[in-house]
Assembly symmetry: C2
Homo-oligomer: 231 residues x 2
């Protein structure tokens, strides 16, 4: 049965920019599970109220509804143990959980500063007031102030990625020889930025750039074919 | 046969403060391998020249000599596959390699700023000129300037540890239900600081503090019994 995936969309239904939804979409493809993408906007809380969650991703798999990208990844490995695993085992899962928090705490903030106005401009009209109010509260300043130093944000992002470069110099993926959920976590970040912003975040000679190229080609080019800007 | 471990010592032979040597010492204990610690100072390059390395840890296991804490960890799992593993598998090893670079790039620098003068004062007299010259070159300023803002360094350390707290809120160890090499990587950092400095780096209510307590008790209290300051 086809899994339904509620995904955050911008003005266009097929400009899908949530890093968390991208994690899940790549995970579904990794496991070879068919899915149908249902575009959703920040302000459509009623449409996913059945899930108990106010945010996406939400998946509906037959009679099971699961929200939150991390919880969904655990669910997929448990519900489909005979398909390719997202985690090698308990230790890898726990280290990937650290990687998730590193990514969200150290990588997302400079990315947000680099793209926030492009993101705002790409949003569906009905989401703009919500996004501005919620993010200005979170940042403690206006979106324009938050976006004021784009070159500083890009430099901060490149510095934050430092621990990853020795890993990708030795292995093609964060999860070693084949991609795993840790790869999808960070790849989601770059699909988020790429969906809404033309900004060049990485230098082509960066090992992270080459890794992102490999990720864009996975699963039939699922990432590369998605609506967004060239990286 | 007892493995020989060349370990960095301060003025006293039993004040062992290298984070990298601590990783190896904990790894040897984890695998239940008997070892003999040989104190070594920064300026005793000739004593380990046989290894091809200018720094410790160096282990001698029968006719095998291995240097570098990361390389030694791989060696131990390969040479002693039937003893408790330091890595669950390839994916966990690669994520632990990321964790190592995160630790050295994000955790060590604020620790160094917090302890560097205590460390300098604890050194063997014959190492002091070497340490001052090499570190002042690395830092681009005097040790005293590098140490000037201890409370800022402690605040930066606590902020850097943020991605770890959600992990330790759910699992007792970085490597999940039992300690693995990733735990020994970060524990080495705290054994380094504790060996030479009385500074209180963590608040008792920090989940990282509780984790460090568990680590101090492992393997018969190997870490806690070592010469150092109360944490």
């Amino acid at each position: 049965m086809t899994i339904k995936l509620y995904e955050l969309a911008a003005a266009e239904d097929d400009r899908l920019f949530s890093p968390y939804c991208w994690r899940v979409k790549m995970a579904l493809a990794h496991k070879g599970l068919a899915f149908e993408s249902l575009p959703w906007r920040f302000t459509e809380k009623a449409a996913i109220a059945f899930s108990g969650s106010g945010t996406v991703p939400v998946i509906v798999d037959g009679d099971r509804t699961v929200a939150d990208s991390w919880v969904i990844a655990q669910y997929l490995d448990e519900a489909y143990p005979d398909r390719p695993r997202l985690f090698e085992g308990n230790e890898a899962r726990t280290l990937a959980y650290f990687f998730k928090h590193w990514c969200e705490g150290n990588v997302h903030p400079p990315c947000m500063r680099a793209i926030v106005l492009d993101l705002y401009n790409a949003l569906h009209e009905k989401d703009k007031a919500y996004f501005r109010a919620s993010r200005e509260k979170r940042f403690g300043r206006t979106l324009e102030e938050h976006a004021a130093d784009r070159s500083g944000a890009i430099a901060a992002l490149r510095a934050a990625l430092a621990p990853l470069r020795p890993v990708l110099a030795e292995q093609p993926f964060v999860s070693a020889r084949a991609p795993g959920f840790a790869d999808y976590i960070l790849f989601g970040t770059f699909q988020w930025t790429r969906a809404v912003s033309p900004v060049k975040l990485l230098e082509p000679e960066d090992p992270v750039y080459a890794w992102r190229e490999r990720m864009l080609d996975l699963h039939g080019g699922l990432g590369r074919k998605a609506k967004g800007y060239p990286v």
